[in-house]
């Protein structure tokens, strides 16, 4: 089953959760901040992605106590972290390849 490459919004959601567990609103804001406002997710898009990531065991959900109320938050699982690392390695390889090719063209 081919999972990679991820789309940019999903990659940003995973990166957001890689730093620390977050709830839905916090993920939306962090994705917006990381992309300099280029990617603003709707709640429908965000929760569609979260549902698929939960189904695949890349993230998990837990109850977080915040301001005396329970709130659902999400965090990366070890599988999610491993797959995120794979994607980062893939991107690094791609950038290296791009640098090599463009340098060859310039020479």
């Amino acid at each position: 089953m081919k999972l990679l490459p991820l789309t940019e919004p999903v990659l940003l959601v995973l990166l957001s959760l890689a730093e620390q567990p977050r709830h839905g609103y916090s993920i939306l804001k962090d994705v917006e901040r990381m992309s300099d406002g280029d990617i603003v997710l709707s709640t429908g898009t965000l929760y569609g992605a979260l549902r698929r990531l939960l189904d695949q065991g890349w993230i998990e959900r837990f109850e977080e106590k915040e301001n005396s109320r329970d709130r659902r938050a999400y965090r990366l699982t070890s599988r999610g972290r491993r797959n995120l690392q794979l994607e980062i390695e893939r991107m690094k390889h791609l950038i290296k390849l791009a640098a090599l090719r463009s340098a060859r063209q310039g020479a």
């Binding site: 839905g24 609103y25 603003v40 709707s42 429908g44 929760y47 549902r51 698929r52």
Partner: protein, 175 residues
């Protein structure tokens, strides 16, 4: 009608299981984002509304399709389900429609041959062909609807259980 009421109404486009699982949480997040957008003026608020409505419509479609998303919907590459099994009832419907079109073409040719030298109304053959197509398509749609309803009712799972499935009912229902 407030935006939140509209949002909650649009959530009914999602499958009921999804709505039960995420509906409240999505509404709570929507409320927070709505407050942010309202603080930034009219244009961000309008953009927010458009984004949310489109997001809900495409999200609901994606959930109903079970991950098999068209290319114009974001997250297509992240459709992580191993395969999308096309419903058999839909295949039947498509075949029935194809048969209807083929039969209509054949009928059209015969009607054209019959009326080629006639001097009567030119609309008569057309009405005949359209009526023929309509009847066949309606019949196909009815059969498809019956198959779809049976599928949704879970009758096939019940039949599997009655056929002596050795697994537990829970396991059989989870398939």
């Amino acid at each position: 009608m407030s935006l939140l009421t509209l949002y909650r109404g649009l959530l009914y486009l999602y499958p009921s299981g999804y709505r039960r699982e995420y509906g409240e949480e999505m509404s709570a997040v929507f409320r927070e984002v709505e407050q942010d957008a309202a603080d930034h003026g009219y244009a961000p608020c309008a953009a927010f509304c458009a984004r949310e409505i489109l997001g809900l419509l495409s999200g609901a479609l994606r959930e109903h399709l079970g991950g098999a998303t068209p290319s114009w919907i974001p997250f297509r590459r992240f459709a992580m389900r191993p395969e999308f099994r096309f419903p058999r009832s839909t295949i039947f419907m498509m075949l029935a429609l194809l048969a209807a079109v083929v039969l209509a073409i054949a009928e059209a040719e015969s009607v054209q041959a019959k009326y080629s030298h006639a001097t009567g109304s030119a609309w008569l053959p057309m009405v005949s062909i359209l009526g023929y197509m309509l009847v066949v398509m309606c019949a196909a749609a009815v059969v498809w609807a019956i198959l779809f309803a049976l599928r949704r009712s879970g009758a096939h799972r019940l039949a599997n259980l009655q056929a002596g499935d050795e697994r537990s009912p829970v396991a059989a229902c989870e398939r």
